[in-house]
Symmetry: C2
Subunit: 385 residues, 2 copies
């Protein structure tokens, strides 16, 4: 791609997966032209944005992306923060700032930052452990870098081997009653808005968020406290260059106390339902925030629930067709979001479904019904299928 | 484009203007792949769908489009109904059916059809007139074919020359109090749903819809009667092969009576606000209807108003940049839809803005505020600008 200085893209996006795709989709009606960097030229975002084909941490490719774009943002933290700081120092606009990205990409530094700011985080017990756990109670071992969708997190029983290799740390295990997330957006002018807290329902088998419900089914006081904490987290990151959407994941423990788990400085799975549940979606909001526009209205329009569509356990990885659309469309107020990935694999996020309803429970019921109807058919069934 | 039988598109669209673009945008999350036929390879839909570049009435190009698509539909009526009937008779799926298109594309035949079905239409007074109007009262002269966006309609005072050349007809002039539209959708299984009536506010200068408000500000009985008439119109067209969205334009006269003006068997300017005001937009609904899926919920979510963005009177036709985004985004619950057209021209539809609010009046106020802020800057100002 040749990129003359007179034809820049409005927004560069590092990563062209489903988040990049949904950012680019939100950008089209706004007349915002997006350029995506992704190692796969057939990535999710390829049908709605221009693509530079290359590794996310390649200095050459990052330079091309960023020099073609008025502003560059991320859909994924795992890139090259060091080189991004160089590009930033040359006058390129990268938001959120690479220094923030560097902090967040290291879960240990992230956690220490929050602890220093007086935010409630689980205690850090040790670093770079190996062998059997010496603790008398279950603990959590986490990878410092690269964890995603539940990878890089392990619960370790007393005496059991620490399973994760490489740079890790150990934190106390919180007795989790509910997992919540609060999405906050901050624009370049310092304006901050939050959405209502959502409740995350994990699939224990896949160890990733399988569904999200809004509003979270917690006491009003807990919801208010979650919002305060999330805004506090955002405030603590503002001096580091926070702009865009920030997802703050929280635990409510069995005694009703809230803990900050971790953050992602980008649109997040827990906010997909804002497309239908809120006046302004997390995707349009992220665009507004990094492009210096006033933030949109985050007021809730409706109770809603989102269910991820993942590649089935026993599917043969490969090309697929989507089945069950008619059954899914028959469920009231259901909204299908397929990610256009070229191949299905067991456990891979292929799309999501959001449903609105008069109650959160009914919305979850509808979303599960529609999600259960949709299939990714490879036509080559496994022997045991 | 070579199109093997193993890689068909899900939907062919005749026309790649803003309606084709918004259809294709609604198709992406559903995983529906669209192929568009348009004479301009840089048409509005080009950034979100594959394009076959060619005239809308070219037999060769229509054949290529239709043979590459499982189902083919329209964003514009002015194509080649005769040849489409041939393609249909060869087993290709074209919806709504070409015979319906042929009826609707001829406004005189359309009107006679409704009169025969007992639907209230203005009386037809004459055909193919010329010279001065012999009528003692103002009358309406209309082009039988090709009218669009107010072109092909003229109000003619007694004794004044009939201005329109070619095939035209004359109908009585209804003393219009309010113009309404009711959108109805019918799917291939015969399921029918309607949206709430909307009120159309015409710009007398440009003679096109400048804004649309939902719900229409008419008595409840009038709204109910408008829905009955629109569903009656849809029912009368069902045997001709109606599938998809049908926009039914109505007049309420100064005595409160309703008249059927004309119909468009496709998504329509009067339904753009359904993207934000309704649970299912006219675009997703059209896709569902022609692809044999169950229809979506047309329940209203909110009062809303839409204002068209048109090229300014004195602009120099050509490339442009969009200004005023920040001012427009500062208006609460405003949604910008730019059509990505390569060039601006005076009066050309460049986009629209929808706003939601607790009342229709406030929504209209917000939409006008945001629309007034957005500019299409060519950088080459006319001498009088």
């Amino acid at each position: 791609m040749a990129c003359g200085s007179d034809t820049p893209f409005d927004l560069g996006i590092i990563g062209g997966g489903q988040l990049g795709r949904m950012l680019a989709l939100a950008a089209i009606p706004l007349g915002i032209r997006c350029l995506v960097l992704d190692p796969d030229s057939n990535c999710s975002a390829a049908s709605v944005a221009e693509v530079i084909n290359g590794p996310l941490d390649s200095a050459d490719h990052l330079r091309r992306l960023i020099e073609c774009s008025r502003v560059t943002t991320f859909e994924i933290e795992h890139t090259n923060p060091h080189f991004l700081r160089t590009l930033e120092s040359e006058g390129n606009r990268i938001l959120p700032a690479p220094s923030l990205l560097g902090l967040v990409a290291d879960k240990l530094r992230q956690k220490r930052h929050f602890a220093e700011k007086g935010l409630p985080v689980p205690a850090i017990l040790a670093e770079d452990v190996a062998g059997p756990s010496p603790y008398a109670v279950p603990v959590i071992q986490k990878a410092r870098f690269g964890g995603y969708d539940g990878r890089g997190v392990a619960r370790v029983e007393p005496g059991a081997e620490f399973p994760l290799p490489g740079k890790t740390f150990v934190e106390e295990a919180i007795p989790i009653e509910v997992e919540l997330a609060v999405l906050v957006a901050r624009n370049t002018a310092g304006e901050v808005r939050h959405w209502d807290p959502v409740e995350m329902v994990f699939d224990p088998r896949l160890n990733l968020v399988s569904s999200v419900v809004t509003p979270a089914r917690v006491p009003a006081g807990t919801a208010a406290r979650a919002i305060d904490l999330a805004r506090g987290v955002a405030e603590s990151l503002a001096p580091l260059g926070l702009a865009g959407v920030l997802a703050v994941e929280l635990f409510m423990d069995t005694a009703g106390y809230l803990w900050v788990n971790e953050v992602a400085p980008r649109p997040h799975n827990s906010g997909h339902l804002t497309i239908e549940s809120s006046r302004c979606s997390q995707f349009e909001q992220h665009l507004r925030a990094v492009l210096g526009l006033p933030l949109g209205d985050t007021t809730s329009m409706s109770e809603a629930a989102m269910v991820n569509l993942v590649g089935p356990d026993r599917c043969e990885p490969g090309r697929y067709t989507v089945g069950g659309r008619a059954e899914a469309c028959a469920v009231p107020d259901v909204h299908i979001h397929l990610y256009g990935k070229r191949a299905v694999r067991p456990g891979r996020k292929m799309g999501h479904v959001t449903a609105r309803a008069p109650s959160a429970e009914e919305a979850l019921h509808r979303a599960r019904l529609a999600a259960g109807a949709l299939t990714f058919d490879t036509g080559i069934e496994g022997e045991n299928a």
